[in-house]
Structure formats: C-alpha cells, structure tokens
Amino acid sequence: MKIELRGRNVLLLVLVAIVLISGVVNPRFLSVQNFLNILLQISVLGMVSLGATVLLVSGNLDLSVGSLISLSAYVAGMGLLRGVSLPLAIFLCLSVATLFGFFNGFLTSLERAHPFIITLGMMTFLQGIAVVISRGSPINGMGGLYELIGIRSILRIPFPVILFGVLFMFTSFFLRHLPLGRYAYAIGGNQEASRLSGIRVGRVKIALYAINGLFVGIAALVLSGILDSALPTMGTGYELRSIAAVVIGGTPLFGGRGGVWGTLLGVFLLGLVSNSLNLMGISANFQNVVLGAIMVMAVMFQGSR
C-alpha cells in the first residue's frame, strides 16, 4: 500500500517525531501524567478551535472569541460572587456567549462588511464591556465551578478533557451528518450557488455563529474553573491561536473543506510543541522562534496542497 506524504499525514509525522524526540531527550515526557497535562492544556484552546472550525468551513471567522471568553467568564464569576447558584451562573455564562455569537452572526448575515472587520470591532467592544463591568479588578475564587471543573477527574482524566472529547464528537457529527453542518461546507464552497440552491445563507450564518458562541461560553467556564478566577483580560490571544490551530489542521481560511480531525491535530501540535520545548529546557526567548517556524511550515504546507 502506498501512503502519500501529504496534508494530514505530514502533520501526523511531525507530531510523532516530536513525541519520539521529546521522549528520548526527557523520558518524563512519555509519562501518563505529562500526557494528561498536555490534554488539559489544550482542552480550552481545543473547544474554541472547534467553534472556529464550524465557522471557517463556512468561510467565516470570529476575532471576538477571546474577549467573549473574558466577558462571559466574568459574568459567571460576578454571579457566583453575588450568591447565585452554580447552575444559574453557568446558564448566565453560556447565555451571554451564545447571545453575542448570535449577534455576530446577525451582523455578518447583513453582509455590509467582511466578518473580519465586524468581529474585530466586536472584539474591542466586548473587551471594553469586560473592563467596565469588572472595573478592572479580577475575581478571586470561583467556588463550586472550581470544584466541578477545575479539579475533578474521572478515571484520572481531567473533567475539561472529557468535556472537550464530548464537544469534539458532537462537532464531528454535526459537520458530517446534520443539515446545518453540510450547509456550512456548501456556503464555504460557494455562497452564491448555495443561495440559489435554496439554502437560507443568512440564517445558517446566524446559527453557526451562535454555536460558536456556545462553544466559547463552555470554554470560558472551563478556563475560569481551571484557574479558579475570572479576569477581564483572560481570553486575550485565543482568537488568533484558535484560527492558527484550525488552519494548521488543513481548514482553509476561505472555507469549503476541512474538519475537526485536522483541527485536533493542529491543537495537538501547538500544545505538544510548547510542552516538549518546556520539558527539554529550551530557553523561553528561543521557544517562540521554534513555535513560529513550525506554524509557518505547517501552514505553508497546507497552502501548497
């Protein structure tokens, strides 16, 4: 059987190479605990990246996810601080995130500007709200959320990892088997043709952005649970890292193809490189050089397909 060295295969090869090299250099890398660490470290980015995948296959993107993480996590924290029950705090967080996702979708569906500009504006807007309502102060202690998500494990597997696994399976099923998922690919492939074939493009976009918002809300809960705190700037950077993970995984920025398995590899690559460099004791100043070079190589390769 001839195995072609292209696309996802190369990404897998790079991942295997990193695992082998890191394992040789520092045997602790191959410990079960370290793999659980890696899985925990990538779980939040993974959740955000799943949402980004749903949008990117439809040719859309959302730059406001980082600010939305900060805002929705802070809303949950404020609720807990004021004595609301844990389920209500979770509901508030998910509602805020989904609502703003919906709003992003609505603005995008008007097609007055590119989603890049719309969500860039939204990013600043949401970050501003987060700073205003927090008055710049972090919330220390998330109470029951920390107990539920931050420290709980099932069969040694941290709860956030299990949650990421469930979301991953859902997204995979959603994109492959549900009409909305298939419409996402169709719109990403050719929006005008999709419209002519009867797909209500505007509504589909709104739904996809709302789903993305829900994923962001879940990621916000998990992040604030793991860190046992909510900060008005805690989501900064997730917007670009999630898009990078999706693109490294083979979903192009203009949409129409790609999927969650590639995204999983992209997220793994980012998490694995960072972890292995740390375990190898590579200087922090040098780490960004290596990480950046690997990202550029991976994306260049994806682009050459």
Partner: protein, 334 residues
C-alpha cells in the same frame, strides 16, 4: 514534495542532535523561572537570576507565560513534569495562582512567588516577595504634595484589570491628599505602553493646559509622556514622577525630565528570591513566609548608588553575600 520531506528529515535530525547534547549535561539542582512576559522588567529579572544561579551552581530554565494565565499553569505543569527542584514565578495576575500553587504543592515542588500575594496561598508556597502596591506609589504622591503648592495633577495608569494599576493610583492619591490644594483632574490608561502614554499625555495637556504634576505608573510610559510634554513645550511646567527605576528611567532623571522614581529593581529582587527558594529547597529556610521586595527612591542626588536593572556580574556577585530579606511576621492581611 520530495524536497519538503528531505527538509523535514534534516530538521528532525538536527533537532535530535541538538537536544541530545542538551540532555547530556550533568544533572544539577534545577530551577524553573516562570516570567509573565518577555518585557524588559522580566528580562532583566531573569537575566540577573541566571547569573546568580550560575554562580551558585544551579541550572535555571526560563519560561514565559505571555500574560496568559492558562499558559502560566501549563508552564508550571511542564516544569514539574520536567523534574525541576523548585519554581520561581512572576505570576501573570494577582489572582490566578491558586491552580499553580495546588499543582506544585501536590507534586511536592516548592514554588516561590514574586508578586500576586494572597494570604490563603502563603502556607502552601515556598514564599511570596513583592512590594506593597499602594505603599509603593504613596511616597510619589507625598513628594508632589510637598513640592507643588497648588494645581492640577494627572495620572497615566497601566493596563486596568490586574489590580496593580488600580492600587498604584490609590496609593498615589493617598500621598497627594496631604496637600488639599492639589486635585487629580485626569486618570488615563497608557496600557504600560510608550506610544499610548505619549497619546495620553498629549490628550491630558490639551484638556488641562495648566497641568502642574503628572504621575506615570512606569518609566516606559514616562519616556512617552515626557516626549509628548517636551514637544508641546510643557516639560518645564509639569513635574513628573514615576516608578520602577529602569535604565531609561534613570536616563530621564539624569536629563532632568523626571523628578523622582520609586525603583523596584527586578534584578536584585530576583536574586534574593532565588536565594530564598534555594534555602527552602535545602531545608535551611522555613517555607510559607512573606518578604518585602527591595525598593529605592531615586532622584538626581542618588543616581550613582542605585541598584540597576542591568546590573553587572560583579554587582550580582556582591548581592549573593548581602543579608537575605527578613520574613514579615505576621504577614500582610491582603
């Protein structure tokens, strides 16, 4: 495609050789130095600690969290997985360390914090060292209260949201309150950024052309603010005070553009923190204590005896024989 594969193999092979050489080094006591960003403050802190570590026969590995609390926790987990003997950390925020402390204490690895003090976390840590945020800015307000008779004062703050910028403003105002004829007319965020501070100073002086005093919360921003005032011909009129004692801040004082700074040199603080952590690792120092970080008010009169951020090797060597800071007992309530 073939060329790409060959290139990939060459990179992988090179990596193996390089990392093999790294691993071949003799195993000694290892400390992970986790810093919040790669900005000058943390760079100078980690560089001084590296020099000190070398002289003490300790291997030091530097991690950067890029102001991301999740990355900070990942760094702590990775350092523990690597098998370090201790962790020295500049926390990203004033509140996100609980996960780091829990992780480190579960693994039995001592973790010493520079900044981010919380009394609940103290017993689980190797120690905390930081400045009193409000107390640090208070003398700068007092200086203005004594040196300005009356008028308008403005503040250019750092990024809001971590708690430190807010505390500095509060402390400065407490000191300033000693002169009731001084009024704070503007508080603008410069986001710890020189360019933003330049713009903030321009806007403040446009709104208040008769401004008498300006408190800028770090000297990177002070450079921007002083440039803006100089360009607008207001540098003689506005008295500026700042914080940190960075090399470019000392240059501003030397040039007469900055009147006073309160320095918290990351260099000597990191060296002292490293020595305290090593003491805990070796069982010579009791863990779980709080220490004040070294600070120094600097004006034109004592510029030459200031602890420098960019300390030379001989200075760092001398710091190794200075007495260690005494623990604060009882530790601060918050």
């Amino acid at each position: 495609m073939k060329r790409f594969s060959i290139g990939l193999l060459v990179v992988v092979f090179g990596w193996v050789v390089f990392l093999g050489a790294v691993w071949a080094e003799e195993k000694t006591v290892e400390i992970a130095f986790i810093r919040a960003t790669g900005e000058p403050y943390y760079q100078y802190g980690s560089q001084a600690a590296e020099v000190a570590a070398k002289k003490l026969g300790v291997k030091m590995i530097i991690y950067t969290s890029n102001l991301d609390p999740a990355q900070e926790l990942a760094n702590v987990q990775d350092a523990i997985a690597r098998g370090v003997d201790g962790i020295l950390i500049y926390a990203v925020s004033l509140s996100s360390e609980r996960a780091a402390v829990d992780t480190a204490s579960k693994a039995g690895v001592p973790i010493f914090f520079q900044y981010g003090y919380h009394p609940d976390l103290l017993p689980k840590s190797a120690g905390f060292m930081q400045i009193d945020l409000k107390g640090f800015a208070r003398p700068l307000g007092e200086w203005m209260a004594e040196n300005l008779t009356k008028g308008k004062v403005a503040i250019i703050e750092g990024t809001l949201g971590r708690g430190d910028a807010e505390a500095y403003s509060e402390g400065f105002k407490e000191g300033l309150a000693k002169n009731p004829n001084l009024t704070v007319v503007a508080q603008v965020s410069g986001e710890w950024n020189r360019q933003k501070a330049y713009e903030a100073a321009t806007n403040i002086i446009t709104a208040h052309p008769d401004l008498a005093g300006l408190f800028v919360q770090n000297e990177d921003m002070a450079v921007g603010a002083a440039n803006a005032l100089e360009r607008l011909g207001k540098l003689e009129q506005v008295r500026i005070v700042s914080q940190n004692g960075a090399p470019y801040g000392l240059d501003l004082i030397r040039a007469g553009k900055l009147q006073l700074t309160n320095a918290n040199p990351p260099s000597i603080a990191s060296v002292m923190a490293l020595r305290l952590l090593l003491g805990v690792i070796n069982g010579e120092i009791e863990p779980g204590h709080f220490y004040w970080a070294p600070t120094q008010l600097i004006d034109q009169n004592n510029l030459d005896v200031a602890y420098r951020w960019d300390a030379e090797e001989k200075d760092i060597e001398a710091w190794l024989s200075l007495p260690l800071p005494e623990p604060v007992i009882p530790p601060p309530a918050s």
